[in-house]
Amino acid sequence: MNFVAGVGRLFLAFLWHTGHLAIFTAAALSHSVRPPIFGRLIVRQLIEIGYFSLPVVGLTAIFTGMVLALQSHTGFAGFAAESAVATVVVLSMTRELGPVLAGLMVAGRIGAAMAAEIGTMRVTEQIDALVTLSTNPYKYLVAPRVIAAVVALPLLVIVDDAIGVFGGFLVSVYNLGYNPSTYINSSWDALKTVDVLSGLVKAATFGFIIALMGCYNGYNSRGGAQGVGQATTNAVVSASILILTFDYVLTALFFNR
């Protein structure tokens, strides 16, 4: 009997959290699209999320592209290797690895920072202070982060795709001795609009997930430094899992019809 009660309690807690998150998401969305919009705060977040993530995301991308070229070269050895390697690199980067790896890196960097900052504001009553100063915390804290992340991630992924493909090109030409113009032509032939487009839609979705999880966990943190630490961990873990989940869902929607 106790076991059943335990499962029941767990299920109720799950429902409560889902409902709570749904309400938070609705509020975050509605405040992101309704004026007034705080332009200055959005720009500050854009710089934080987009510009300062470039080094991390760029490094990840160039090594990913290089490894992809090396791995697929050994796999396709002998058999039209040149065009196959170029195709594998460009499609893997734009469709999958570009957005997913950028998403995961930014989740670690930005999702954690958002949860820590908003969480600290919560436990030191700064969010309560916002409310008493007639400022809506969704409008002032959540909306600028959500908007900036949704805009910044696709931009970041475009750069990321280019760097990844360039990494693959470097290894193929200088290490594997492929013909550079053949490589570029095969890449170009393999690439279709939907490959890049699906990657950008994924990136925007991941940006939303990262900002939402960072803000949600920070906003609901409780009980001092320990609570803020917990919120930070939860933000990164939940964002990462959701990114991988939605990656599957979006891939199925785009390519599995």
Binding site: M121, E125, Q126, A129, T132, L133, S134, T135, Y140
Partner: protein, 257 residues
């Protein structure tokens, strides 16, 4: 008293988990009055104020401001109401991402849409009132001593000249001279701005100086309410014990041992 009270609380109840904190708090506070709540640590003083502000929702009971029920108020009506309030938080709750003057001007710029230059002027004026120079205005909150942070928080609470001001332990952590300056300032705010003040304090000297009326909270209720002069003549044993700071008496501190 035929006029509508500025604040009227009736039978407020609030519990956290299984623990009742407010167990039927009722009081009427007239416009322009300075009301002081005294009581032991953890007795629910801050919770009472946060219920009036709408930061916490009472489980039951009614709170009227200017004769209008405010429990459950939201949207534009709540925004309108918030503009009447100023709050000094117990822990200061300064925004650590903003400079001191921006903190003080925050309610003017964000809440009341005043232009920045004018708001800055008003912020520096208010800082001067609490004994802080313009040089302090350019610092970050983290660069201030605890007592200075308290004064900045006070300046932020009164900068927009609200109708009702809440002071949660305004003099704790200040030296006796500065504490008296703050006491005078609170008295002045109430007299000159015609504001209604609700203060929480442990400091009986401060309570006597700023309060027109006092109330003592114990066991989740206001067990004594009276004029300031009456606090020394009352035969209420709880009040006597608190005022004289005696360890033995009807109030049992929850000390484990």
């Amino acid at each position: 008293m035929s006029a509508i009270p500025k604040i009227r609380m009736r039978d407020l109840h609030k519990r956290f988990g299984a623990k009742p904190v407010l167990d039927g708090v009722s009081a009427e506070i007239a416009a322009g009055e300075s009301f002081v709540i005294i009581g032991g640590s953890g007795s629910g003083k801050s919770v009472t104020i946060k219920c009036i502000l709408g930061l916490l929702h009472p489980d039951s009971g009614s709170i009227e401001i200017d004769g209008i029920e405010t429990v459950g108020l939201h949207g534009r009506a709540r925004d309108e109401l918030m503009r009447k309030f100023g709050m000094l938080f117990q822990g200061g709750a300064l925004f650590d991402s903003l400079r001191v003057w921006e903190n003080v001007a925050f309610g003017l710029i964000q809440g009341r849409r005043m232009e920045a230059a004018k708001a800055r002027e008003r912020a520096l004026e208010t800082l001067a009132q609490v004994g802080l120079g313009a040089d302090v205005g350019a610092l970050w909150p983290a660069e201030l001593s605890g007592g200075m942070q308290k004064r900045v928080a006070l300046a932020r609470a009164i900068a927009a000249r609200p109708e009702i001001i809440f002071f949660d332990e305004p003099t704790t952590g200040l030296d006796p001279i500065m504490a008296d300056v703050i006491n005078d300032l609170i008295v002045k705010c109430v007299k000159e701005l015609g504001a209604t003040a609700v203060s929480i304090t442990h400091d009986m000297h401060s309570a006597r100086k700023i309060g027109d009326r006092m109330a003592m909270i114990y066991g989740g209720k206001l067990i004594w309410v009276g004029r300031t002069a009456e606090i020394d003549t009352t035969d209420n044993p709880y009040v006597q014990q608190f005022v004289h700071g005696r360890a033995d008496g009807p109030i049992r501190m929850e000390v484990r041992g």
